[in-house]
């Protein structure tokens, strides 16, 4: 299967290893992976900071670049959620729907399109899952704790982790409480963002996890910044890095 990688600007610049791990993983699963270097940003930071015009400009640009792709795969749930849920307002319904139907978060693509659970990874460590809010609620990669209808079973991200050889999943208290990053929010509300993040980090630490993983690099970078300031806590690793690993970190 041909896959166009959608590597968001901040992953490209700040977490290149996540992009590489995504490419390696998809190739291992038999995909032909391409990356169009004209891509930059899907517009998410502009949507959430109220810069509508700029968001629309970048959204149109992003949509035109990925027009012909069979599948667009991205290791960032919030960017996929932006394409899927915010583009209608920005580029019109027809084009937005067409792109949304072909754009997938990495784990979602592996699970729902390639129909794989076990990707042959080995990671003999204790890991806590940070269910990033956009992936959890807008892409439905898991089951939000506040939902009152019956759970259908294990979520997409968790099921991939459960199939990793040697990996022990640790459950943190308030497992899907927001980490407090929120993009623009963390800039305008630094104290509140840090408060929420510190509580999250404390809960993750208390779970006994050595690593915390998730589908959004932004949440992980935020927690990592707090962790390195605090001097302790589980180390963040993106889902792609764990699924791509063979012999352990």
């Amino acid at each position: 299967m041909d896959v166009e990688l959608f590597i968001p600007c901040y992953v490209d610049q700040l977490a290149p290893q996540v992009g590489l791990a995504s490419a390696a993983l998809l190739e291992r699963l038999g995909c032909r992976v391409r990356f169009d270097p004209r891509q930059t940003c899907c517009g998410q930071p502009f949507v959430t900071s109220g810069a509508r015009e700029e968001a629309a400009r970048l959204a149109r640009r992003h949509a035109s670049l990925f027009q012909g792709a069979d599948a667009v795969v991205c290791p960032s749930a919030s960017c996929v959620a932006t394409v899927r849920h915010r583009y209608t307002d920005l580029i019109g319904e027809a084009e937005a729907k067409a792109l949304a139907a072909r754009t997938f978060e990495l784990g979602e693509f592996i699970s729902r399109v390639l129909n794989r659970r076990d990707v042959g990874a080995r990671f003999p460590h204790k890991v806590a899952l940070l269910e990033s809010c956009h992936g959890l609620r807008e892409l439905e990669l898991g089951w939000p704790s506040e939902r009152t209808s019956r759970a259908p079973g294990v979520g997409v991200t968790e099921s991939l982790l459960r199939a990793v050889d040697g990996l022990e999943l640790c459950e943190a208290e308030r497992r899907d409480e927001c980490c407090g990053f929120g993009g623009a929010f963390s800039v305008e509300f630094p104290e509140l963002s840090a408060r929420i993040g510190r509580a999250k980090l404390a809960a993750l630490s208390a779970s006994g996890a050595e690593f915390v993983t998730g589908t959004d690099v932004s949440c992980l970078l935020h927690l990592d910044g707090l962790r390195r300031r605090a001097g302790a806590g589980p180390r963040p690793l993106h889902l792609a890095e764990i699924l791509a690993s063979r012999a352990g970190a």
């Binding site: 900071s49 935020h222 300031r229």
Partner: protein, 458 residues
């Protein structure tokens, strides 16, 4: 605004025990709501039904308001319409003054908080006593409620013990909830008996029968209106529902969503005044028809003020209700503020959210709260000139891959500098609480290209 909100939160709810206590007390309500929702097999169906009933009622609000007015008047109530807060203040004061009423007992109403009714009446020499225990606590403390159903949730037991000792002469150092409640009860009982008038809110107004539905856990609204010769009920025009049967949906959702109770302790249906007494209903607009005319945001008028979105909100729990700066805090407050208030500061409230989406997921009437927060940010919120400029420049760079690469290259070269503190550092907000990420090395695109060319090399 945002900086002020962030600072207010830090001051009003200092980190440490007070913050932890607030967060835990509020989150406990969320957990009770989850359990109650799961124990009710129809919960999800009820939410969808409630959404539809409210959407229908709002689509035909003119019809249902007139019907309510006619039926309520036929039952002996007088119905008044108030265009704004000043109208409400004037009508309520006139009703009280005409009957020489000086002492008022009042039960909870977020609308009267929104419209500043208490201070207005007090300025005109009327004593207003809030009779909901939480409301009484914040009233004695000289502060506004911080939560729409738990007005004093930001206060600890010790705070309340000290306050009651000062205000009601309870035993020094007593923090026992039972004894403090008894002290408040004794104090309030005398005021109930002496009251000239009772002011209440209403949770629903039933058009079919002209009935007001008033829900409390303490029975304070009931006692007030059962004793005083004059009952004034103040409610927003959006509270009207078509028929009595609709209550079977809303009453099953309201308490479960608010506190996890199957139903509140007291649910009173008031149709007309009691014999020998007067009932006046004041229906208040105060910006609601303007919101009704806004197709993107009108569903926010469906809110039944249960507080579930506050309880689940990670920002509300860490900021406290007072940080929001107006009567309705939390996600629903941030969604209503741009429509119902006019200050630039309050119209920026939609930014006070991480957009985690949990508010939309718990709302009993399925208001798309976090989507509405995004929509407000992009439409009506006043954005500072600096932010506008920054967005324009950032978008220009991001629209050109060459410029984008150059910016990334520059950031890498200057990386060590970004970790230092200086006023123009673009990473300043990040560094306030976090360490700079480790130097990322070459970008993904550079490495991917290198990898591809290495493979293509013979």
């Amino acid at each position: 605004m945002s900086a002020a909100f962030d600072r207010r939160a830090a001051q009003l709810l200092p980190a440490g025990d007070r913050l932890t206590a607030h967060d835990s007390a509020v989150f406990a309500l969320r957990l009770k709501r989850d359990a109650a929702g799961r124990a009710e097999p129809d919960f999800e169906r009820l939410r969808e039904q409630a959404r539809r009933i409210k959407a229908h009622a709002l689509d035909h609000l003119d019809v249902y308001l007139e019907r309510f007015e006619a039926r309520a008047q036929a039952a002996g109530a007088r119905v008044h319409f108030a265009g704004d807060a000043a109208d409400l203040q004037r009508i309520a004061l006139e009703l009280l003054a005409a009957r020489g009423a000086r002492r008022v007992v009042k039960s909870k109403s977020m609308l009267t908080e929104e419209c500043g009714l208490n201070p207005h009446l007090e300025r005109h020499g009327i004593e207003v006593v809030d009779t909901d225990l939480g409301e009484r606590i914040v009233q004695l403390g000289g502060e506004p409620p911080s939560h729409i159903i738990m007005p004093a949730i930001h206060r600890t037991r010790a705070d309340i013990g000290a306050l009651f000792e000062r205000e009601m002469g309870s035993a020094p150092g007593d923090t026992d909830p039972g004894r403090l409640t008894a002290a408040a009860r004794r104090d309030l009982r005398a005021r109930f008996l002496a009251a000239d008038a009772a002011i209440t809110g209403a949770n629903f107004a039933v058009a079919e029968t002209g009935t007001l539905v008033i829900v409390t856990n303490e029975g304070n609204a009931d006692l007030g209106m059962a004793l005083a010769p004059l009952h004034i009920a103040c409610l927003g025009i959006e509270k009207v529902v078509p028929g009595l049967a609709d209550l079977a949906v809303f009453l099953r959702l309201l308490a479960r969503s608010a506190t996890g109770q199957a139903i509140s302790a007291y649910t009173s249906l008031v149709t007309g005044p009691r014999p020998g007494a007067e009932l006046h209903v004041i229906l208040v607009d105060n910006g609601r028809t303007r919101l009704l005319a806004n197709p993107r945001h009108r569903s926010a008028l469906a809110c039944i003020r249960c507080g579930a979105c506050l309880n689940t909100c990670p920002v509300y729990r860490r900021a406290g209700g007072h940080a929001y700066g107006w009567a309705v805090p939390g996600p629903i407050g941030a969604v209503l503020a741009p429509a119902l208030t006019s200050s630039d500061e309050l119209r920026r409230l939609p930014f006070a959210s991480t957009l985690c989406g949990s508010c939309s997921a718990v709302c009993p009437v399925k208001i798309d709260l976090h989507d509405q927060l995004v929509a407000w940010r992009g439409s009506d919120s006043p954005r500072p000139a600096g932010a506008r400029r920054a967005a324009r420049w950032a978008a220009r760079i991001l629209a050109r891959p060459g410029l984008y690469r150059a910016a990334g290259f520059a950031a890498r070269a200057l990386w060590p500098l970004l970790g230092r503190s200086f006023p123009a550092n673009p990473a300043r907000a990040w560094l306030a609480a976090r360490a700079l990420p480790e130097h990322p090395g070459a970008s993904f695109r550079a490495r991917f290209r290198a990898r591809s060319s290495a493979r293509e090399a013979p």
